[in-house]
């Protein structure tokens, strides 16, 4: 459709069509608003500032993992091993502290390198062996889970109550009065925002994800971007794992798995919010907060936990459906 016909069409559109257009464009935001309104009315205490802060703080780790996932989805792939990178980050950091008595910041670095290791394996499989990201990261997931169980002799947690205060503060401390979890997640959010949305690397990454062949012909070193994408995403998820371990002062094997579906959902909800259906850092943030809001709201409503799980699942299907539908119909017009 050319510009001209579009202009004509919209100028002659009836009020009803305009309403439909409005719904298509902002439908999802309306849903968020409606859900928010619903919880404000029916979930006790939902609107209290401490609860809202709770939602934000409780979403920090998921946000960090979802950022890594955003990166990979922006590149046109998917990462089923974010949870493994999370676990490795936690395990490496806790073991470095407990068994090797490392200073906390070195332990953090060791933890991050655990995630980088997971990312490296993915990168190798995807770039060198041309395995599809889904299959590669599924394989990494199997192997990573197994390694954790071997290492912990079956999956026992590694607890380190004596972790240094600085390390604990990564999760429970405050920086300038703000919970450090939120600060770290915000810093990463900002870095990712600048990197994926504002930098020339981000532009190239999106170009690869949209049309790999065109990116290749435009002289972008696609393989290098894929490689570093997986590595950096692995490192990012490990930061999530480190915070998680600092929170509880322990490493619980396979804990990262529980973030996988939420991370995928958050990224795709976010992607459906953008005009062209692309994953974006801001969209992911909205997706994460939306999921956090639903989990928290349903918790506060005091529903039976089985009902709650079912509702969360059904809401996920409906929301994804509406989001994808909205994005597809926007794309068509």
């Amino acid at each position: 459709m050319t510009e001209n016909t579009q202009v004509k069409a919209s100028s002659s559109a009836s009020l009803k069509q305009q309403a439909v257009g409005f719904l298509k464009q902002f439908g999802f935001l309306l849903i968020i608003a409606a859900v928010f309104g619903f919880f404000s009315l029916y979930a006790t205490n939902f609107l209290s500032s401490s609860n809202l802060l709770n939602i934000v703080e409780g979403s920090s780790i998921l946000l960090i993992l979802a950022l890594g996932m955003t990166y990979i989805v922006a590149l046109g792939g998917i990462d089923l091993s974010v949870g493994i990178a999370f676990d490795f980050g936690a395990a490496f950091a806790i073991v470095a502290l407990k068994n090797y008595d490392l200073v906390w910041y070195l332990a953090v670095m060791v933890g991050v390198s655990g995630g980088l290791l997971v990312g490296l394996l993915n990168a190798f499989l995807v770039v060198k062996l041309s395995v599809s990201p889904f299959m590669a990261t599924l394989g990494t997931f199997f192997i990573g889970s197994s390694v954790q169980r071997i290492f912990t002799n079956g999956g026992g947690p590694i607890s380190h109550r004596g972790a240094p205060q600085e390390f604990r503060d990564l999760a429970v401390g405050k920086i300038a009065g703000i919970p450090s979890e939120i600060v770290i997640a915000s810093v990463l959010l900002l870095v990712y925002f600048l990197f994926l949305e504002k930098s020339i690397f981000g532009k190239r990454i999106h170009a690869i994800g949209m049309q790999r062949e065109a990116a290749l012909v435009a002289g972008i070193n696609v393989n290098r971007y894929l490689f570093w994408g997986f590595v950096i995403a692995g490192g990012t998820c490990a930061i999530g794992g480190i915070i998680g371990s600092a929170n509880l002062r322990m490493f619980s094997p396979l804990a990262g798995y529980s973030y996988l579906l939420d991370a995928i959902a958050a990224v795709f909800i976010g992607a459906s919010l953008s005009r062209n259906g692309r994953p974006s850092v801001s969209g992911t943030l909205i997706g994460v907060l939306f999921l956090g809001m639903i989990a928290n709201g349903l918790n506060l409503m005091g529903l039976n936990f089985n009902t709650k799980d079912a509702l969360e699942g059904v809401i996920l299907v409906v929301v994804l459906m509406l989001a994808v539908y909205q994005q597809k119909s926007l794309g068509k017009s």
Binding site: L129, F134, F268, D309, L320, M321
Partner: protein, 329 residues
């Protein structure tokens, strides 16, 4: 670039063909090793055990194979259905609940269970065909929702089932083979007939093989895709009977291991097919062999923590060798 994948006659071709057989060779070697180190594996008891334990996986694999055959085997862009195990477990929960807690007769209970499973399939078909969601995302979401609904049905409790039909499926034998295995064999034959021996099946394969070509041959691609998801959910529903028989009841959470086994077996099966594509036989064989491996490793006392490693490495071996065998340069 967009050049035809012309038949390359170079010497590298044979090597690549060999790469394609690598997973198969590794598999045979592993099984051979197991047979030598645990001779009891070759007894009829063990073989019967392998068949009986692989039954639920085999049935869900039938469903996944249909979806992959119709959608193409690119996991992200092509066909995949992650919700089959969840549908199977939901159906099993409904049937267990009806049989044990409400005293419903077998057939009505089965139809309720099947109905629930097919609804999952319909939702998938709607999301993929009408909303144009990628199958991966759509079925991931329905799978999460289905698991949640299962929890409501069962209140996260195990429900024991001692209904005679289910018990006989588990315990009775006919001509030396368990009734469950025989029924599964029948099911495999029906699916085989539908997918590989009928016009409908050829259309299904054509859609997965080359969507444009199928459309040009007058096949309605969307209808075939929708039908594949519905058929997959039927397989899921049927699998519930075997899930119940195997577990003597329904347990919450059993979908997870079923899911991983299903994906592993189905895509592993592609490595066994002479055409290197996902087929019903391949998926069934894959399911049986994966079970055989699991049992074999346990029998020789390999630490169970290693099984994930072995499975992961197997998946990667299969897909990497397939990717290398088909890569152009």
């Amino acid at each position: 670039m967009a050049t035809l994948n012309a038949n390359s006659q170079s010497s590298a071709f044979n090597w690549r063909a060999l790469t394609g057989y690598l997973p198969f060779i590794v598999f045979i070697l592993m099984l051979g090793y197991l047979a030598v180190s645990a001779p009891q594996l070759l007894t009829t008891d063990s073989l019967d055990l392998i068949l009986r334990q692989s039954v639920p996986t085999v049935v869900v694999c039938l469903g996944l194979a249909v979806v992959v055959i119709a959608g193409g085997d690119d996991v992200v862009a092509g066909g995949i259905d992650l919700s089959i195990p969840a549908a199977a477990v939901l159906a099993a929960a409904i049937m267990a609940d009806q049989l044990t807690n409400h005293g419903t007769a077998f057939l009505p209970a089965l139809s309720m269970a099947m109905g629930a499973a097919v609804i999952v399939g319909l939702v998938n078909a709607f999301l993929v065909v009408k909303v144009a969601m990628t199958p991966l995302l759509a079925t991931l979401a329905t799978s999460v929702a289905t698991v949640g609904i299962t929890k409501v049905v069962t209140s996260s409790r195990r429900i024991n089932v001692d209904h005679p039909t289910i018990v006989s499926l588990r315990d009775n034998e006919l001509g030396g083979l368990s009734v469950g295995v025989l029924l599964t064999l029948l099911l495999v034959l029906i699916f085989y007939f539908a997918v590989h021996r009928s016009k409908w099946g050829m259309s299904l394969q054509a859609v997965g093989g080359n969507r444009d070509a199928a459309e040009l041959s007058g096949i309605s691609v969307n209808r075939m895709l929708a039908q594949s998801f519905i058929l997959a959910s039927v397989a899921g529903g049927l699998a519930s009977v075997f899930v119940l028989a195997r577990g003597s009841g329904s347990s919450p959470g059993s979908e997870e291991s079923l899911l991983l086994e299903m994906i592993l077996a189905t895509f592993l099966g592609a490595a066994f097919s002479p055409r290197r594509v996902v087929t019903l036989w391949g998926a069934v064989l894959g399911a049986v062999l994966v079970t055989a491996l699991s049992i074999g490793f346990k029998s020789i006392g390999v630490n169970v923590f290693w099984t994930g490693c072995i499975k992961g490495a197997l998946i990667l071996l299969v897909v990497a060798s397939a990717a290398l065998a088909t890569s152009k340069d």
